[in-house]
Amino acid sequence: MNEELDSQLSAMFDDELPPAECELLARRLSRDENLKARWGRYAIVGAVIRAERGVRLNAPLAGRVNAVLLAEPALAAHTAPRDLRRPRLHWWQPLAGAAVAAGVATLSIMWLRTQSLNADAPLVARTTPAASMSAVPAAAGPAASYVVPLPKPASVVVPSTELANYVVAHSMFSPPVARRNLLSAFMVSEPAAAGAEEPQSDAKAFAQ
């Protein structure tokens, strides 16, 4: 046996070997049974000097542990798939995530629009004829130079009272511009909701 190697083994046993040398010797120690046996005897020497008298110095403990571990998969078998899984998923996971997110967002917007239109359906039903009444004479008139534009269907959607109340109650959290727009839209819609008495002004308000 190489004396320098044994000297290194002794120093490594005492945690007195530089880390770089430890790496190399640990590799050799794990494979060389003679070196490992010597390492085990160093441990026995220490146990005797420390008078560890309750301990069986010839106990086959290491062999028993080794026998149990033989049946177990090496730790790298547990850890390697975990390490490999991440890069394998990287190339498609963001794309799939983005596609799913976009799909969910589109469906949500469409559903919200449908819900809003349905919720305000009676109001729209009252305002639309009024608006169309104002437009019909103009369209029917000869060579009309000015025609009041018909309000777009989307613009006739006015906030419900509950929504307005909600906005007022939570006004501290909504931006002033949005709050003002919502409330003014609601106020303008009140006459129309009450009976569509002033269809022209109503139409003008929405046209603006």
Partner: protein, 202 residues
């Protein structure tokens, strides 16, 4: 010198799938661990079973070991918990064992316990190993004996031993190595020659 570098290099090898490196860790710490567990259970055979369980638990938990503490500290905690659980599950009260007791009392006490569970062959061989090592230590030159005892019994670092013995650290390393080699030569003959060889060698 970074403390625990040798254990850490072995641990890293085990974490990369090298079971042989774990074998080296078991060989290094098996006696310490059995001694530790014997604070909680009565006989050495049971202590060995618990130590074996602790080593296997440690192996399975090694992927989570990051090296924030020393490996032995971590292993020590696993062994203590395993021993406590074993005591609870078997409904036995732990043995009150004073570690500061002097060696003669300890020897008497533990020998008494060993008689309950050990096979005669096991006891004879253990005694043979012990007497061989002690005889080899007694035969060492004074400077080698002092160095190995300061290291193994007092747990001093090479630097501390160098200061105590007023010599360079390299000399300490050499003395401890030569002491171990001298003892190991005797010990190897016991292991390779079997029972009864120690008396011839002594």
């Amino acid at each position: 010198m970074s403390a625990d570098a040798s254990d850490l290099s072995l641990v890293r090898r085990v974490q990369r799938g090298d079971k042989g490196a774990f074998d080296a860790l078991v060989l290094k710490y098996q006696h310490k661990l059995v001694k530790l567990v014997m604070r909680y259970v009565r006989n050495p055979a049971e202590a060995e079973d618990i130590a074996q369980e602790a080593f296997i638990k440690a192996y399975r938990a090694l992927p989570q070991f990051r090296g924030d503490s020393a490996f032995y500290t971590w292993l020590y905690r696993i062994a203590i918990n395993t021993a406590k659980n074993a005591v609870v599950s078997r409904d036995r009260s732990p043995v009150e064992y004073d570690l500061d007791r002097n060696n003669n009392d300890e020897s008497y006490d533990m020998q008494g316990r060993m008689k309950d569970s050990e096979t005669p062959e096991g006891l004879v061989l253990t005694d043979e190993i012990r007497s061989t090592v002690n005889a080899a230590i007694d035969a060492l030159p004074e400077d080698l004996r002092t160095a190995i005892v300061l290291r193994e019994l007092e747990g001093l670092s090479y630097e501390e031993i160098a200061a105590a013995m007023d010599c360079p650290v390299g000399t300490v390393r050499s003395r401890i190595f030569r002491a171990r080699e001298a003892i190991d030569r005797r010990l190897r003959e016991v292991f390779e020659g079997g029972l009864g060889r120690a008396e011839e060698l002594g």
